[in-house]
Symmetry: C2
Subunit: 190 residues, 2 copies
């Protein structure tokens, strides 16, 4: 069979990025087990040899994915800080699955962490710390900041269930607004 022609106008980022995208997608959709090297290569329309050309082992693939997640989370921390409606509003609203690149990367990282990968656990822990400190700066109270982070964490795990129609309520725009109002009561009276 003739090898696929190289598309000069990169179809959707570099092959390397497509491989990382495919890896994340498989992790999100099918869990750790389904994200095999063969599956990743196939999903990225690359041969297995091609995958191993870019990432010499599965460990390297994981590290590449985690590095991209870390970079994305760093950008996001800046977005939270600069959000027009305030950091808390932004954090809560982006805690439900939005389909953003960060979102997908974060879920992918969680799958690895649940699979007890220490590198993934480390990165996820660091990201949470960063978010927490942004919220602490915004609300000026460590306990309140921690409670808000917990709600954010809760939303994350929950929207994973919701996507599969297993949670009773969907998190609509309106219910999110009510939640944010409720969180306002946690703030040391403004």
């Amino acid at each position: 069979m003739a090898p696929m022609l190289r598309n000069p106008a990169a179809p959707s980022g570099s092959t390397r990025d497509r491989l990382l995208d495919a890896f994340e997608e498989l992790l999100v959709e099918g869990g750790e087990r389904s994200a095999t090297l063969d599956a990743v290569a196939a999903a990225a329309a690359v041969s297995k040899g091609g995958l191993l050309y870019h990432f010499s082992s599965k460990g390297a693939l994981i590290e590449g994915m985690l590095a991209r997640l870390d970079a994305l989370a760093n950008e996001d921390a800046d977005n939270i800080r600069a959000a027009p409606a305030g950091p808390v509003d932004y954090l809560i609203r982006t805690s439900v699955h939005t389909g953003s690149p960060l979102d997908r990367a974060y879920i992918a990282g969680s799958r690895l962490a649940q699979g007890r990968d220490p590198r993934a656990m480390q990165v996820l822990g660091d990201i949470r710390c960063r978010w927490l400190s942004v919220i602490e700066d915004a609300v000026h109270d460590p306990d309140t900041a921690e409670a808000i982070m917990l709600i954010s964490d809760g939303l994350y795990v929950n929207s994973s269930l919701a996507e599969h129609e297993l949670a009773p309520q969907e998190h609509t725009d309106e219910s999110m607004s009510r939640l944010i109002t409720l969180i306002g009561r946690l703030l040391p009276h403004t």
Copy 2:
């Protein structure tokens, strides 16, 4: 080698229960990947053939584990309702990992759910619904109940990180009390 003599006074629960315990333990400690049939059998001091005698497939083992989790969660819902310090206090304090049988079973179920097992996701979803409705009965406001459940969910995922010294703060008795006080502010003014 002589087969192990049947112990009339069951040594530590039935072999069946020991297998389920071992399965949960492996799931909690090493994630889905490490909970192989061989590993489960070895951890329960049973041969693989012995395991397969009690649970004819890995699927049957999962279902057995999930059934026990469901039963444990049912008991717990009654405990929450009848807690002396109130349902909210009880729910929050038992949301950090306590090492109880329910706790272990719940984490084990989460591992399977993250591995995208639909049966596990279903059971976990049901349990959350049950808890939520208990809290709703206690606080008489769906939004507040949802927020409290989110904090509970957040504590759960977080204490998993904390166990591996990756989260900055440990959830001490004292910090839990402060959190519960904070949650008090969410209640429609008492």
